[in-house]
Structures are given as structure tokens and as C-alpha cells.
Amino acid sequence: MFRYVALLFCLLATPAMAGGPLTFEPDHTSVTFQYPHFGLSHPSGKIMGASGTLALDENDLTKSTVDITLDMATLTTALPPFDQMLKGDDYFNVVKFPKASFKSTKVEPTGENTANMTGDLTIHGVTQSVVLAVVFNKKAFNPALFKTGYGFSATGHISRRAFGMSKFEPIVGDDIDLFIEAEAYP
């Protein structure tokens, strides 16, 4: 019973998207990076600790913007000694560059639920323009949070060399695939 009352309350209390920007939910927003290891396998790591906003213009998607930072200290490959190496001087140098950020500069819809989002990606103190292929998964009421949620997946790829992290090329490949999952809430 409580659930229905709460649901009704939230539906009434959450009018469309007239309000301010949405905030990324840090436990359900992640960037997974994957790279080729000598052609043998494709190891991966994940960065979380998202903080930032999505200003979603549902009437004119091209006017939507994303401004997000990730906490490099959260980097995990599930192998703690390897995490320390990636966070160290040879790679991300998280002491000196504790955050990665992405700030969109252009949104081009490519389909009913898809768009290409171009933006400035800053990692390791270097900023490069990157295009992400974004899929809008769902907008719905999230009964666990009692809020309307917006879910996205996105992919992209970058050259790690372009960000000043070329150690162990070419055994460890230069082309890094990015797999992004995100949820945002009012």
C-alpha cells in the first residue's frame, strides 16, 4: 500500500522535465575501458565515482549537454597490484591528475533513441575531442529511488597515445574501447 501511495505522490510531484539538469548516479554510472593485449586477450578496467550533470532537452536533443567528472582513484581492474600500476606514473598518474572529465560540445541525433555526442575528454591532463555513440535505454519511474530515471549506454574509442600514455606499446594496444553505462535522476 505504501508503495502505491509513494508512487502516486512521486508521479504527481515530478512534472516532466521542466526543472533543472539531471544528476549522474555514481553507483550506476561507469566507464569501462578495454584494450588488446598482444592480440591474445582483451583486458579491461572500470572507472566510477561519477559526478556531474545532464541537461536534457527532450524537445530539442541538440541542445542537451553533459558535464561529468570521474574519480580516477576508483579505477579497478579486479587486480589490485595492476590497479596500482595503472594509477602510477607510467599511466594515469592519479596523484597529479585525480579526475577525468568529459564536457559535451555537440549532440547530433542519429535515430529515435541514439545520438552522437562530441565532447572534450580530459584524461592525464590532456584534452582531446572524442565522439561517443549514445543509446538512450529508458526513461521510467525507478521504484527503488522513487524518481523518474534516465538510462544510457554509450561506446567510443580513443588512442591512449593521444593522452600521453603509450607505455608498453605495441604489446599493449593503443586503441582503447570505451563502454559507458549511465543513469541520471532529477
Binding site: T29, Q34, F38, A78, K138, N142, G151, D177, E181
Partner: protein, 193 residues
Amino acid sequence: MLFKSFVSASAVALALFASAPSFAADVYKLEPTHTSVTFQWTHFGFSHPSGKFMNAVGQVTLDEANPAKSSVEVSFAIDGMNTGVPALDNHLKGPEFFDAAKYPTATFKSTKVEPTGADTAKVTGDLTIHGVTKPVTLTVKLNKKAPHPMMKKDDAGFSATGQIKRSDFGIGAYVPNVSDEIDLFIEAESIKQ
């Protein structure tokens, strides 16, 4: 789901299953720091969170003359699970999900290998998670077999995908908000013994 498991249509990928330089099967020990199982689910349809196991213990037996006689046996410690969210790791390891204290390992033991191409195969096996054993079929690709650049021994690298229903393994909490279907993305390297 979004993971790219079959990235390289590697021109270098040897026709392993076809070439037959030796008569005996070769044993390759799984390399714990380059072998992973990523499991991914759907969260209310909004996003696709994932977790990962590393530190595999096990071996691949490659029979190049008769690939159907190849096999794999591997186990993972549930305690090594990592989602990137420590609180979720603890929740997943707890009694509501994997119950790692009672069932500390997950294992996979192949029962059948069916070659489907020069470097691909369907590998069926018994997957045991949470004390429950079910047959699972994985789609496996041999990415490359080559001397490891540093270890100087033959390294066989694989990618594989599969799907399971977690409720089959008695881990059905929060279905369907948290999806029952779990996609598996496996990467493996193994060193010839």
C-alpha cells in the same frame, strides 16, 4: 552486451583446430592475471552494470589433432568479485546472492567441444555457482596462439561469451528489476606447460 568480445578478426589467428603438429594434447595453464569473467545484467532497463572475476585457477587441454577432445577446467574465488562499487561487492558476496562464505568458488568443467570454424568452437560444460550445477554452452574464439612476448612460452588467448539465468543457480533476488539474464564475457590467456 556492449562488451566487444570478438574484437580482433585477427589475421594472425592460427587455424589451431585444423593444424596438427603434435599427436598428444598440450596442457596450457590459465594465466590468472589475464583471465577474466565479466558478468553483466540489466538494472530496471536503465543501465547494464557489470562485475568481474579474475585470478582463475585452471587449465586448457588443447588437442590440435582432434579438437573435439580438447577440454577446459577452471575455478574462480567468489571473494575476488569486483563491480567497482565496494558496497555492492559485499552485498553480492553475501547470503542474498552468491553466499561466498558457504560457496567460496565457482567452477566450470567442459563436457563437450564442438568446433564451428577454424578458430571457433561451442564449448559445453558444467557450471557450478552457489552450489548449483547447470550445463552451459559458451561460444569460444581462439584469438591467437603465439609465444608470449615476455614469458617466451606458447600462449593461447581466447575470448568467449555465454548467457545464464541466475535464478537457475538459486540467485534470483530482485528479478525482474535486476535482470535474470546474465551475459558472460570471458577473456583468457593460457601458457603452455
